[in-house]
């Protein structure tokens, strides 16, 4: 039985494993927790597909055009064509697996409006679409687990990616409970989610530390568009983190306003009369930041008081329950205070249309991959990207030749790498270094960026790397320190990517280069780790093939 090692157990990972199992291949799913605790369960508003069940004349082409426009010309048009063409069958397949999508009176899947889309195109289950999809996929995986085609290594972390002669040959994983290391041979598919941990807390899961992508980057896989970080327009602070108020709230009629001279100013409606509150997220977040700065306010307000109570009962019940429990306010009676927060990473492991990374034998799908979204992601497209991308990557794996066996001394070399850290003379604190990395990243990679702040951020990160390399933190342990050192390298690549893109586009707004510059920068930012240095280049966007 051919075998693939999948890092992660979220939607992209399960989608890939099920596709491989259909063909009798085996997958080993490596993750710190079970699928039911992956970030995918947090997804709320829905999944996009041009199902056209609302009688609006929607089409795959329209979905393609909206996705490309939101991505500000940086998405691969051929990959987006694949994604959008497979949208309808992907969502219908999920319904066959038992996802109880909301349905219209005639029994077809209901679609809700979502930001940046001119037609209603987002299928949903109230505001917990991710949880419902995970439950259905995990149920389907169970059958394959019983048959031995899916093996789960829960409470395991990726520790190192193995290479030989420029190919990925497998990986080393660590059992987080027993502290044991195992070499797993075979092609590796990263489905390890977003780079949350470089920033500390985001709207997502703290399990997504960014370490898996960092390990891939450190062994030579290129990363694309790392500077493209999505700030979700409407987040709220709760005990130590920011939580999302789903875009579904605006999709169902929520309106953003600011108090100006005692009056409510519905700034999005005034500035963008066509899509109003449902402009793409980069625009809404930028506007909130801008109007707050202009008026000296520290938050905008999301007004849901006008939303039909029946819509609340039927579609936004989870949102209301959240506001009541965590914010102690009833969104049907009073507006919700909101401000943008880090939510999604458009950039990540650079992959081709078939999800191959630049390192042969290594693949990536889901949020960890740089695919489909360009400079800004449409809400609802990442769930589709995770389900379809996982499947697509698996189909590629089924076709590609397998890698050679990992070097026989892989385990010994790994032990030596740990010893090297343990034998360093000085003492350092990984916890403190991680905190400073998070702070530097948040400081320099906000919604508005400039060279001065980015350079300062890069310097802090470089200094942190240097000081860590001089010592050892016995309380964190060598395996954790090894990961942190690589996460710092990836963090620097992210800052350097933002510095190199001397223009403003999508999620990147440079105060010192406020204009979009298609001539120089309608390209993918490529970061590569070469001979101990970050190298940034710009790659052309593939030409659209005629269907």
């Amino acid at each position: 039985m051919r075998r693939v090692v999948i890092i992660g157990a979220g939607i992209a990972a399960m989608s890939a494993a099920l596709t491989l199992a259909e063909q009798g291949w085996k997958s080993v799913l490596v993750s710190p927790m079970i699928s039911e605790r992956a970030q995918s369960v947090m997804a709320e508003g829905g999944i996009n597909a041009a199902l056209d069940t609302m009688g609006e004349g929607d089409s795959v082409r329209a979905h393609f055009c909206d996705t490309m426009a939101a991505g500000c010309g940086l998405a691969d048009p051929n990959a987006v064509a694949d994604l959008t063409a497979h949208g309808p069958e992907t969502v219908r397949a999920l319904a066959s697996l038992g996802v109880p999508f909301h349905t219209t009176a005639s029994g077809d899947i209901t679609l809700r409006p979502f930001g940046g889309q001119k037609k209603r195109r987002t299928a949903f289950v109230r505001s917990s679409t991710g949880r419902q999809i995970v439950t259905a996929l995990a149920r389907a995986c169970r059958r394959e687990e019983k048959a031995g085609r899916i093996v789960r290594l829960s409470h395991h972390w990726l520790q190192q990616i193995l290479t030989a002669e420029g190919r990925c040959t497998g990986c080393i994983v660590r059992d987080g409970r027993m502290g044991r290391f195992d070499v797993l041979a075979g092609p590796v598919l990263l489905a390890s989610g977003g780079l949350n941990g470089l920033f500390g807390k985001t709207t997502g899961s703290v399990q997504n530390t960014g370490a898996a992508t960092a390990l891939a980057y450190a062994v030579g896989a290129a990363c694309g568009n790392l500077e493209m970080i999505q700030y979700h327009p409407t987040t709220v602070p709760i005990s130590g983190k920011r939580v999302l108020i789903s875009e579904a709230a605006r999709g169902e009629g929520g309106r953003l306003f600011l108090r100006r001279g005692g009056e409510k100013w519905y700034f999005m409606e005034e500035k963008y009369p066509e899509l109003k509150n449902l402009m793409p997220r980069d625009v809404v977040s930028w506007e909130i930041e801008q109007v707050c700065r202009e008026t000296g306010e520290d938050r905008a307000w999301l007004d849901l008081t006008g939303v039909d109570p029946a819509v609340f009962d039927e579609r936004l019940e989870d949102l209301r329950a959240f506001c009541l429990e965590f914010l102690h306010l009833d969104p049907q009676k009073e507006p919700v205070p909101v401000y943008p927060g880090i939510h999604y990473f458009m950039g990540g492991v650079y992959v081709d249309r078939a999800h191959r990374s630049t390192l042969p034998g290594l693949y990536a799908a889901g949020e960890c991959a740089c695919q489909y979204h360009g400079a800004n992601r449409l809400g609802g497209n990442s769930l589709l990207g995770a389900v379809y991308g996982g499947r697509r990557a698996a189909e590629t794996l089924l076709r590609d030749d397998g890698p050679p066996a990992p070097p026989p001394d892989a385990q010994a070399r790994w032990t030596a790498a740990l010893r090297e850290i343990e034998n360093r003379p000085g003492r350092v604190s990984c916890r403190a270094a991680e905190g400073r990395m998070n702070e530097a990243m948040n400081d320099c990679l906000g919604i508005r960026r400039c060279e001065e702040e980015l350079a300062a951020g890069a310097k802090t990160l470089a200094d942190l790397s240097t000081s860590l390399a001089a010592g050892y933190d016995p309380s964190a342990g060598a395996p954790e320190q090894y990961l942190l050192e690589r996460r710092l390298i990836l963090a620097r690549a992210m800052v350097d990517s933002a510095r190199a893109r001397r223009e403003s586009r999508g999620a990147q707004y440079r105060t010192d280069y406020p204009k979009r510059d298609d001539g120089a920068f309608q390209k993918t930012t490529l970061a590569r780790w070469r001979a101990g240095k970050t190298e940034i280049t710009f790659a052309d966007i593939p030409k659209e093939e005629t269907p």
Partner: protein, 239 residues
């Protein structure tokens, strides 16, 4: 105010209590309190003795993943959804213990494999495309909202972690499968499993329903499943 967090610790060999002082507003969640303790450069207990970081599980920190289940002030709850003020006794002391029905790994971390293993052993999957009926669509949504947190098993007087009885969480997953499945050998097998692993052992205390953090209407789901899977009042026969 100053809270005292009295934590049941387990280092793999030895179990003991350790108490930590923490200044903060009562609105802080237990999860945030644990983070703040672990963020200290050098963690010491209230007597000033050095202590290892506290092991506990979390992922979403917003009541969506079920990772942070533990016993808080004597009640099984999710640490990220409980403010200190709701968990403290009159003297501001909050006790934290691991769930007791699952093997303890370290401190507040437990191994809930028993729960996921039961789902596989009960063959809770579909052999054909799901048939979702309008009348039960909302119940499927409810059943599929389960976090697999295990709080319902912790409070169940019948669930011990040993023996055949699997408790409420697998039973509601069985509803999701049985009601979606087409008639046939696999659905019959799920019915038999439901009977053996749940129906025959349930004493109907319904403590599970009260403790469920996402308010799954467990009783309704069980009544429906029992009617169909045990008493064969299936939708085909019902018309």
């Amino acid at each position: 105010m100053t809270y005292r967090l009295k934590i049941r610790r387990f280092d793999g060999v030895r179990a003991f209590w350790q108490t930590f002082a923490l200044d903060g507003g009562g609105g802080l969640t237990v999860a945030r309190a644990l983070e703040l303790l672990n963020e200290r450069p050098c963690l010491t207990d209230e007597r000033g003795q050095e202590a290892a970081p506290i092991a506990w599980d979390c992922a979403c920190l917003e009541k969506k993943c079920g990772a942070c289940a533990m016993v808080i002030g004597g009640k099984p709850r999710l640490a990220c959804a409980v403010p200190l003020r709701d968990a403290a006794d009159r003297d501001g002391c909050v006790t934290l213990e691991p769930l007791k029905k699952f093997p303890c790994i370290r401190d507040l971390q437990v191994d809930r494999r028993r729960l996921t293993d039961t789902l596989t052993e009960m063959e809770l999957w579909l052999e054909q495309a799901a048939e979702t009926r309008e009348e039960t669509r909302q119940l499927h949504y409810r059943a599929a909202s389960c976090l697999l947190c295990g709080l319902c098993l912790e409070v169940c007087p019948q669930f011990s972690g040993k023996g055949a009885f699997g408790g409420a969480a697998p039973a509601i997953a069985a509803f999701d499968v049985y009601d979606h499945a087409q008639p046939g050998a696999h659905r019959d097998a799920v019915a038999r499993q439901y009977r053996r692993r749940f129906y025959d052992g349930c004493a109907k205390s319904l403590a599970c329903q009260d403790v469920c953090p996402v308010k799954i209407p467990i009783e309704r789901l069980l009544v429906k499943t029992t009617a169909a899977a045990v008493w064969k009042r299936n939708r085909k026969e019902r018309k």
